[in-house]
Symmetry: C2
Subunit: 296 residues, 2 copies
Amino acid sequence: MRIGFIGLGIMGRPMALNLKNAGHTLIVPDRASLTEEIRGAAEVVADAKSVAAKAEVVILMVPDTPDVEGVLFGPGGVAEGLQSGSLVIDMSSISPIATKDFAKRINAKGCDYLDAPVSGGEVGAKQATLTIMVGGPDAAFARAKPLFEAMGKNITHVGAENGAGQTCKVANQIIVALNLQAVSEALVFAARAGADPAKVRQALMGGFASSRILEVHAERMLKGTFNPGFRIRLHQKDLNLALGAAKELNLSLPNTAIAQQMFASCAAHGGADLDHSAMVLAIEGLANFSMRGDKA
Amino acid sequence: MRIGFIGLGIMGRPMALNLKNAGHTLIVPDRASLTEEIRGAAEVVADAKSVAAKAEVVILMVPDTPDVEGVLFGPGGVAEGLQSGSLVIDMSSISPIATKDFAKRINAKGCDYLDAPVSGGEVGAKQATLTIMVGGPDAAFARAKPLFEAMGKNITHVGAENGAGQTCKVANQIIVALNLQAVSEALVFAARAGADPAKVRQALMGGFASSRILEVHAERMLKGTFNPGFRIRLHQKDLNLALGAAKELNLSLPNTAIAQQMFASCAAHGGADLDHSAMVLAIEGLANFSMRGDKA
């Protein structure tokens, strides 16, 4: 297939190369930041409009909601070049509510739209093992499926409504943040009460407290190794999406709001680029206590 | 071994019978509530003092901190009858801080003390598959191990300090409550944003959001079947222990405090005896929305 790919950053680059390796033709907009590898693998054209004019499928992988809006509907954007019958797939993690609007405006051009955010990070992007959560019509999903299979592994068609994929991603980020809170409070509590938090973690694995976060991130908390991983600043962005959407939906998410404040506390102390498991520092800070005995 | 068992309720009864079945002698204090099965299986004596006078090991399985204090140190209590060299094992879930004090007072009588709270509920008690979290000296743990093995499966000696077992149990209850919050907010968010929460749950299983709570309790939330299970009123008690101890430790547990308020909201609306997964109703209530489409 002729695939336009816009947003060739840390995630987008390996995703695009996996599509190329699966036998597809890549078309990308010219940017000073394009790597030689991408220039060698893709047809480079002037802008997003030119990408859309030449591609059957246009994939976006950009940072945030305004970036998607700009790439799609800004001057020289995708919407200006789109041919009727094309498919736009937004794999960025953005607002589920804005997504519904973007999809409608793309549909009005006679094109299908899928929202298909991912999780699994840079490693998942490189190894083509991303989890992909997709919202949009059945036929569009069927058309895109071989592309998703070239980039990911656990691919779920969450719903035929646009926004369902983004909603699922936000739900994922809510649970991950709140499970980080859970493990942070429990381990700092245990340490502060005089128990060995490593032994406590061990005792709790396999029971009702078990989670992937207790498995992976509690380990990081205990060792105090907070190199990312997934940066606090990115999780802040995702919880902003959750809280912004919740506000529009007239919904109260008290713990998500607290999680956002915990991340803000980490960021305020210079930790925005630490792994999100560093949320424990906000609780430790409140306790004025290190559970790793390195308080000095 | 000659084992005194005090607290023969829903949990204590099957635990005591498992000890009897493992070949031990049971001694219990007389209560109008003793079942025929227990009367048949045990030597029934006047009170806790008489139990302690006749037993090598005295096990407690009572509701809360004041109950343990009363049984141990009240008039006609265990402390009055204890022989030097005996072992007291408190398997109730109580304050880790009070536990340290109780242990000291029992130690002063020349006796060892273990705190060994359990998780796994009535089913675990009957099937002898309880998770048992133990705090106290190595030698006492070694002495008690065959007894634990007659009642449970996943047995961890969390620390040689008394209170470590109770601390571990509190940490468990913190994580379970906060993971319930996580799944509640994520699923209600997803439903409210127009996605199918069952599909969202499916998509998230296996990823970083996965947890035992997402597996088991999210299912209950989706079906709206809140028969216990583990009652909200009991989880409220456990979070009280967490927040009470945190206060004494000068530690801030913001999300545990919110979880306690969510449970209080459920209880205020008559839900204290629902399964703790009914926490989702507090979020649904805030959203004035049912994610199961039964709003009518």
